[in-house]
Amino acid sequence: MVSMENTSKRIVAGIVLFAIGAVMHFVLHSDWQLQLLVFGIGYIVVGYDVVLSAVRNIGHGQVFDENFLMTVATIGAFILGEFPEGMAVMLFFQIGEWFEHLAVRRTRRSISDLMDIQPQYANLVEGDSVERVDPEDVSVDDVIEVRPGERIPLDGIVIEGSTSVDTKALTGESVPRDLVPGDAVISGTVNLTSVVRVRVTHDFEDSTVSKVLELVEESVSRKARMERFITRFARWYTPLVVFSALLVAVVPVLLGQDPSVWVYRALTFLVVSCPCALVISVPLAYFCGIGASSKMGILVKGGNYLEALSRCDTMVFDKTGTLTEGRFEVVSVDPVGYSVEELLETAARVESVSNHPIARSITDSFKGPNAGVDSAEEVPGKGMRAMVDGREVLVGNHRLMADSGITADEVEHPGTVVHVARDGAYMGCISLSDVLKGDSTTLVRELKDKGVRRTVMLSGDDRRIGEDVASRVGIDEARCELLPGDKMRILEEIMEDSDGTVAFVGDGMNDAPSLARADIGIAMGGLGSDAAIEAADVVVMDDSPGKIAVAMDISRRTRSIVIQNIVFALGVKFIILIAAVLGYANMWVAVFGDVGVAVLAILNSMRCLNTRMYRR
């Protein structure tokens, strides 16, 4: 890029010379030779590089080049004796270009600030000494030290010290996370309070920060349909306008009209023939939209996905890990002839040997010491059978009780009910509910406001649990008791039914095929999950489902800004072309239609970077 300072000096010199020339032309009515001298020098000072590029590019066969068109238009104006206009068009063209560069440069800078999560160094611990090294030189199982204020360079596990970290750059979340030894740390986050030592679990290349940066870099290469359309359009637009200019210059003259009038009008055409306003501002809008999303902790893997999100009309959710935390909470303990403690303790001792999430919740809800069991076996699909202090205990569902001839209470609870019996005697039951993620409950209503017509929840869990969650969240349909393969099949059925775009929201652990199959795969809780980052098109870095609504907002806003720009730029250019044919538009107006419109469109696109309205 030619240095901008140099260009600005030339522009200032140009303005001075233009002012002198204008006084000579409009006030003093000097000789034309004198005027030509002043405007001509001004023209050369301001626009020599444009003319040079034009000449060079003709040599390369680049006829419809912006420089060439400007050169023809301005020199044409000089030949017609319109010196002030010839110079003014060049001057404004350069001023406009200068603004364009400034705007593009500013956007580039704010985007790279946004992406400024690249750690510069790591403090490698070797014996008693700590050495500052390049994060790439650290290997797995090395120990690094991270001091307050430093960015965590590699993924790892805290082994010494406790602290809190700021994950804002990755998740958009401003509440710091607390870390104690044993916790996983994510690269790219910032250590806030105290020194910790971390055992590295991933090479730099595989660490979260590298993955995220690579993803954002690559995202810009997946272009939105609108961007492709603009590129194709630009290829036709310039030749078309130039050809029309030729017609405007030639046909009326053949019909006996005044050549100078029509040639001037044709030159006006050339000035508005560059589609730069669109070619810059449309991709820029998507770029800024993707940037804004990352700032909010949502990685969008391409302009095409950002665009598609605004058209999404069906959203399919996986239940566990997406809408719910995958954790159950005990909502009531109902003993029959025993104390609450005794029932809970008995159940907790048996469940302590199981890894099932429901078993874990029951175990966790018993606060006393857990003595465990003598022996235990799992009864698939029904529950557990165990020996506790020499007595046989059954913990499980209705069917488990029925198998042993025990009559369990009928409980009207929408979630899961676990029954307990000891030595053939019914002890009572424990009711549990699926814990919803914080903003799950408002999500569906928000999505409906944004044009999602149909919401479906898929779950492998029991119908009662599934329908309970669906009704609490407000989802239209719940498909429950599904096997892993069923999810994919149902998703495909839904996609066939839908005319619009279908998004699948999952946790990325088990849903990789569905994430890949859907028009848009949205993964929740991407932070720390390679699988999610890999498989999805949109990754919500933290765990809040509300971010899906935010992503849709960003998508819809980007889209409307793109449409504004297209309508505005083409509208203005078209009006100027018509006005020029009719003789109402001169070159002054046309040069606004070129660079003025480009600058306004760029400024409009930059609004996509603003994330203030998405924070809540």
């Binding site: 890029m1 390369h60 593009v104 580039r108 870099e217 290469s221 560059c274 070619v279 991709p283």
Partner: protein
């Protein structure tokens, strides 16, 4: 033969229209696949066989010079393309 994924940085791109012309022409270079130029990041990416990378880079350099006289192309990063299972 290893497929490489190459990213070049193009300095001196100032017209988005020219950028898209460079992209179009570069994607016609034999051996270069998935050519993609992003005006905003001033980067052009492509995939190619390792042995052809140098030829393609110099070809892209020539195209850029032709379309945007001030443009200079330099290697930003290159790595082996992992086949996705």
């Amino acid at each position: 033969m290893a497929m490489m994924k190459v990213t070049l940085k193009i300095d001196g791109l100032c017209c988005a229209n020219c950028a898209s012309k460079i992209e179009t022409e570069s994607s016609r270079i034999p051996g270069a696949q998935n050519v993609n130029l992003t005006f905003m990041t001033e980067k052009i990416r492509f995939e190619a066989e390792e042995s052809e990378v140098d030829r393609i880079i110099s070809e892209i350099g020539r195209i850029s010079k032709k379309i945007e006289g001030k443009a200079t192309v330099k290697l930003h990063s290159m790595k082996e393309l992992k086949e996705k299972a």
